[in-house]
Amino acid sequence: MKQLGIVGQSVHRSDGLGHVTGRTTFIDDISYPHMLYISMVRSPVARGKIRSIDTSKAEAFPGVATVITAKDVPNNLYTILCLIGIGPNDEPVLAEDEVMYEGEPICAVVAESEEIAREAASLVKLDIEELEPVLDVEYALRPEAPKIKKWGTNTFTYDGKDHCQIRFGDVERGFAEADEIVTGTYQLSPIEHAPIETHVCVAKPEPDGRLTVHTNTQALYFTLDNTAIILKMPSNRIRMIGGTVGGGFGGKVDVLTEPITCIAALKTGRPVKWRWTREEETRCSSTRAAVKIEMTDGVMRDGRIVARKVRSLQDAGAYHRHSPYGAMKHMVNVVGPYTIPNVWVDVYCVYTNRQPSSAMRGFGVTEASFAVEVQMDRIAKAIGMDPWEIRLRNAYRNGDMRPFGKITEDATLIETIQAAAKLVGHELPPELAQMHSNDEGGYAAAQRATA
């Protein structure tokens, strides 16, 4: 490997001195004179029809500047993935006629202090007709389940299908040939990003009619473009400033604070700050999707995995946000870093009346790795093979075909297994210790030969 100068050196973090002295400017550290604060009124029910919203008491509360409802939003629809051609858009910025999850934003109280905004928000009267929520993904797929999406299904539509899929080789032939069939079901729970810094946004109207927006988004332009579309403003009328975030982990890519904070600033002509409470961060921001994975493998007694069939249900929650993409990322990774000649994968992005799931550190893959790697141990157990050996024998080699039609390159799974064994003092038999990712060995080669 080429020796380099500064690359490869553990130089100090350029923001390290700011962090240790508390002088790094996070978004919540920004304040302007005459700034107003937002408190959000959110749905108390998981699914319902909004009959009426009475904001009169909140508006009359001393110190309240304004209350923002759906009719104040110029284009009341998030456009999360429309810029890259994924649709249809399905999530309102503020709820209009229905609520789809507990915690869905309904109206924003804008006031002189957080304390005033909070108390005034408690005075907004909601009249909501509660409907049966759909919470279980298996139930959501059944014909008798209420269809919670306006387009009449409980699934995201991929090219006319209710799921996305991989078809590679002949999985039924693989099962027929297999010595053992090993099955496993894997379930994850909704996981919160829990950055120590919650969502914060500060929007300030400028004399020239522009808006300066400070935000801890993970994606400035994505946020800029989405906010501009929602506000029906040319994007260069908005200056989005950020770049320093107190922990993200995927939780700050959903453009959840900026449009409303901007609307409040435009409506009042004053700077406005919206800082989420910890409870909002926990219960109203996106989560890692709860995913259910059913995995069935055909295995030979010598350890070769000859077929893998996966049915996976991603609980997208009420709106899709980044889940349709996460499901596809899951689809291509749920086979794992192993060479398997026959693969069948169906992944469903399913809607429920739960806070939406979205991006989180490795989403799609984390869940897949969990299922695949526990399944590998199940297989090892089923055929009486050592867990190190089952992985080394099936590990993909450079040049192997992946089930999604890409030739493997940059494979180093074997090398990490060997290094981990060494790290914990586990001695591998010579045959396994000598394997490498460019060798012709392993079962992949045998499978190539028989394929």
């Binding site: 553990s10 100090h12 973090r13 923001d15 390290g16 001195l17 700011g18 962090h19 240790v20 002295t21 508390g22 002088r23 790094t24 400017t25 996070f26 919540d28 550290d29 304040s31 001393p62 110190g63 202090s113 957080e114 304390e115 990003h193 829990a194 950055p195 120590i196 810094e197 919650t198 975030v245 107190g246 922990g247 993200g248 982990f249 800082r275 409470t277 910890r278």
Partner: protein, 160 residues
């Protein structure tokens, strides 16, 4: 609107703030005294990112009504940072990469300072116990414990 006036010593200086009655020390520091090193993480006592010292003792500023510090001595991270330099804990956190996103860092350093002021050469277990009310989501805590241990060792302990 009603207001209360509270006088206290803030980082060595006599300070008087006029705030609404339910205002917390955290809000007073950040929004009235413009000292923003102290962070709001949960405002419910669950994360420790607002830790400051009141009379030298670690205290959650988010759960402290400002009225409680009348006549007391409050120290924030700004107050322990020497002009043009670093407190030994700050230096150790910097050298050890103990801050990633940096949001929990001020609270961590203040909790560690309270420990070292009381016990200049704590063991690693004592360090962990002293920081057990401060959550960090980025680092896994190891470099933070290493950093405090470095300072403890400079104090002539750490291996006890």
């Amino acid at each position: 609107m009603s207001a209360i006036t509270v006088s206290f010593t803030l980082n060595g200086r006599a300070t008087t703030l006029t705030v609404s009655p339910a205002t917390t020390l955290l809000t007073a520091l950040r929004e009235h005294a413009q000292l923003t090193a102290t962070k709001a993480g949960c405002s419910q006592g669950g994360c420790g990112s607002c830790t400051v010292l009141v009379n030298g003792e670690p205290t959650l500023a988010c759960l402290t009504p400002l009225a409680h510090v009348e006549g007391q001595e409050v120290t924030t991270l700004e107050g322990i940072t020497p002009v043009g330099g670093l407190h030994p804990l700050q230096k150790a956190f910097y050298d050890r990469f103990a801050a990633q996103c940096g949001y929990c860092t001020p609270g961590m350093i203040m909790a560690a300072k309270a420990l070292l002021d009381r016990n200049p050469h704590p063991t690693r277990e004592e360090i962990a116990a002293a920081l057990s009310g401060n959550l960090c989501r980025c680092t896994g805590y190891l470099p933070i414990l290493d950093a405090v241990e470095d300072v403890a060792r400079q104090n002539g302990g750490g291996e006890r």
